[in-house]
């Protein structure tokens, strides 16, 4: 049963890491332009990568 003294803090620590990650994304303007970010991945910036196939 004493394993709980290790596991409980550990699970909270994991959740804190997630919370910190969310805080980081918020601080780095990741929610300012959801539509743009979704579209940006489609922009072909040329040169790099394998040729596209139809």
């Amino acid at each position: 049963m004493s394993i709980i003294f290790l596991l409980a803090p550990f699970s909270i620590l994991l959740a804190l890491v997630g919370l910190a990650a969310f805080w980081w994304t918020l601080r780095h303007n990741q929610y300012d332009d959801p539509a743009g970010d979704a579209a940006r991945i489609l922009i072909d910036d040329g040169g790099e990568g394998p040729p596209g196939r139809l």
Binding site: S11, A15, F22, W23, I41
Partner: protein
């Protein structure tokens, strides 16, 4: 450095650190990844530009210039060439766009979610203990402490927005929704600590945090509704109040934000532009359209030494004028002050949720007090009596009140947004639902605000069309629209305030006012245009402002909903009566000044009527702000759109009917939700009083009631077809 263009937008540049400067442009028409790539590339290639980033969500392009001397005009020209018209955004507005409040709420929500999930992890064993599972007192205390360690700090952080708002409202001696929420949360935390210390059973840390999480969802939805409407309104402003062209001593044109124009500045106004500030014409003659200022439909001709008012639209000629007032002191500003006064009277409006809170708070707190005192008097242990009193507060904490109204309103405004109606705030929807009288402006609301030819005769139109096509005057444009041909007159000369002259097939012809074309006789009251070849018979074209196609139907539909309709117009009695008859409205008043309109609205309000004003002109702005609710079409002047609660786009007036339907449906849903909450409290509060509530039941009941209320709000999306 500005070789390519004569215009100078440098007043819009915002200096950044290290000698760079940046500029926000509102770009129209960007919708896909392709557009975004093209726009960023084009802007990035412009000389002096170090970075350009397009925000597809807000439609703004942020351009950073190397050095302080970048030239925005080159970027704007490049975007125009691509087919994306761009407008510089006022630096003050761009700074305000940064959404601090929204981020704070989002972070609070994340913390509450984290707290709720992790405190719940320790609560599950506690709940199991309640149902006779094996849980020793030591383990229970351990779980409670763990739950407190996670839950309490999260509750304090996530509750901060509510505590602050409650404190402000208590200081102002008013009770809003946040007061009972704050009292509930703080008491819950306090009693849970005491219970934990005394090895008791009732620790509600998880309930406190999950309550805050649910409430924050509602708060965030409400905030998003307001910021979205505000930024849409700011976009409209940027598009409609473009910069003024101030002429420098060297004769160079400088685009300046209207608010920075000084008295004595020389300003250039081209055909199709609005006069930015009050001024006196120095050079040039033009016809001015005052329709949005006063509601008059006949253009006014002004020349040198005559005064022209801010907001008038120059139709035919290019003029140079000297500013006689700053933008804050212009004729427009007097109206702006009226608008402010009207808006203040509106801010006294008590929102539905706060009205409910005003009844709810005393009842619930009295019930809690009664539980404690009554329980003690009836011989219940004082500690148990106190626990029961707190349980009453926890179980009745106004989850539904805090979540239900924003959820309904965001669904309603999303629905209206798809119909082309922009709702500025949730309070606006609440006020719109209470309307019993509708006041329409005539020009631009019941009518389209642009002249149309009456009794067109194709033969004569075809004769005059080549000359009409060469002019930018609205009457000439209306005439040209009637003819499918493409011929253009040659040697065209336009005389502002007179008409246009040119050669059609070699013959000299004139199109314009009666005296310009050479017709003698009494001046006609109708809007008219004369045409004739030199030495030939003259022909007359008559124009009338066209009724919106669905004006009659909309008014009939409004009547069917038990509303009364009236027309208040600044135009003369003749045209107003004609329109009133056409739409079947008996009550109308004409030749009203902006102040007359406000006092007409005030009279109606004093008689107990809840008035919806639908208007577009500057002369309506004050009335829009004064009325219980205001609606303006998207073609209205910026001042009116600012004063209105809702802005609708498109040709039809049907939006008025749809908005009222949706607002009424939203009110209905909100009241239903209140009814449900009341019912829930009627069951839950007595249960808490008799000590039947334990932490598990509290958690279950609270999230259950929130869920029901939210699902009911979502039914909203079927209303207002």
């Amino acid at each position: 450095m500005t070789a390519t263009t004569s215009e100078d937008f440098s007043a819009f540049l915002r200096p950044q650190g290290q000698g760079t400067s940046s500029l926000d442009l509102l770009v129209k028409g960007a919708r896909c990844a392709g557009c975004m790539a093209k726009i960023e590339q084009a802007a990035g290639k412009a000389p002096g530009v170090s970075a350009a980033r397009m925000n597809l969500t807000s439609g703004k392009l942020s351009v950073t210039f190397e050095g302080a001397d970048g030239d925005p005009a080159v970027v704007i020209a490049a975007l125009d060439a691509l087919g994306y018209p761009a407008t510089p955004f006022d630096p003050a507005q761009a700074a305000a766009a940064h959404d601090r409040e929204g981020r704070r709420l989002l972070m609070a929500m994340a913390v509450a979610a984290f707290g709720a999930a992790n405190a719940m992890m320790f609560s599950v064993p506690l709940w199991a203990g309640l149902f006779g599972q094996e849980l020793g007192p030591a383990t229970r205390t351990f779980m409670q402490w763990a739950s407190a360690l996670v839950g309490a700090p999260c509750a304090i952080f996530a509750g901060a927005p509510f505590f602050e708002s409650a404190w402000r409202s208590v200081k102002a001696r008013r009770a809003n929704m946040d007061v009972p929420i704050s009292i509930g949360v703080i008491l819950t935390l306090a009693i849970s600590f005491v219970e934990t210390l005394q090895h008791g059973r009732d620790a509600y840390f998880d309930a406190a945090v999950s309550l805050l999480f649910l409430l924050l969802i509602g708060r965030w939805l409400d905030h998003r509704l307001r910021t979205r409407a505000r930024s849409a309104a700011a976009d409209l402003l940027a598009l409609q109040a473009p910069a003024a062209s101030v002429l420098g001593p060297d004769g160079r044109e400088r685009r300046t934000p209207v608010s920075e124009v000084a008295v004595g500045d020389l300003i250039l106004v081209r055909p199709g532009e609005r006069v930015p500030v009050d001024g006196e014409i120095q050079v040039g003659v033009s016809d001015f359209d005052n329709a949005l200022l006063t509601g008059e439909t006949t253009p006014q001709t002004l020349g040198p030494t005559q005064a022209c008012r801010a907001g008038a639209l120059s139709l035919t000629g290019t003029i140079r004028m000297r500013a006689t007032a700053r933008s804050e002191d212009s004729a427009v500003a007097a109206i702006a002050r009226l608008v402010e006064a009207g808006a203040q009277s509106k801010s006294a409006y008590v929102r539905l949720a706060d009205k409910a809170a005003a009844i709810y708070v005393p009842v619930v707190h009295a019930a809690a007090a009664l539980t404690f005192v009554g329980g003690w008097a009836l011989g219940v242990d004082p500690r148990e009596a106190l626990l029961r009193a707190v349980a009453v507060l926890i179980i009745t904490c106004p989850c539904a009140l805090g979540l239900a109204v924003p959820a309904v309103q965001i669904t309603a405004s999303a629905r209206l947004f798809r119909k082309g109606v922009l709702v500025k705030s949730g309070a606006a929807l609440e006020r719109l639902a209470e309307i019993d009288h509708v006041v329409f402006d005539k020009t631009g609301v019941l009518t389209l605000g642009r002249p149309m030819l009456i009794d067109p005769a194709p033969a004569t139109i075809a004769m005059a069309a080549p000359l009409a096509r060469a002019s930018s005057h609205p009457l000439a444009r209306a005439l040209a629209n009637e003819d499918p041909g493409k011929d253009m007159a040659t040697d065209v000369k336009e005389t502002p305030g007179g008409g246009v002259e040119g050669r059609i097939g070699g013959r000299l012809a004139r199109l314009g006012r009666a005296d310009f074309v050479g017709v003698r006789g009494p001046v006609s009251a109708e809007t008219e245009l004369w045409f004739g070849f030199e030495g030939d018979t003259k022909v007359r074209f008559c124009f009338q402002d066209q009724l919106r196609p669905d004006a009659r139907r909309t008014i009939d539909e409004l009547r069917a909903r038990g509303l009364t309709v009236e027309i208040l117009s600044g135009d003369g009695p003749g045209p107003v009566q004609a329109i009133a008859r056409a739409v079947g409205v008996d009550h109308w008043r004409a030749s009203l000044s902006p102040t007359d309109k406000v006092s007409a609205i005030a009279e109606l309000a004093a008689a107990g009527r809840k008035v919806l004003m639908v208007g577009d002109g500057l002369n309506d702005a004050a009335a829009l702000a004064k009325a219980h609710a205001g609606m303006a079409p998207g073609t209205a002047l910026d001042a009116s759109q600012n004063a209105a609660d809702l802005v609708f786009s498109g040709e039809g007036l049907g939006a008025v009917r749809i908005s009222i339907d949706v607002a009424r449906a939203a009110r209905h849903r909100a009241l239903e939700n209140f009814g449900f909450s009341a019912l829930y409290n009627l069951v839950a509060a007595p249960a808490a009083m008799f000590g039947l509530i334990n932490p598990f039941v509290a958690a279950l009941a609270m999230s259950g009631s929130s869920l029901v209320v939210t699902l009911n709000a979502l039914r909203m999306s079927r209303a207002g077809r």
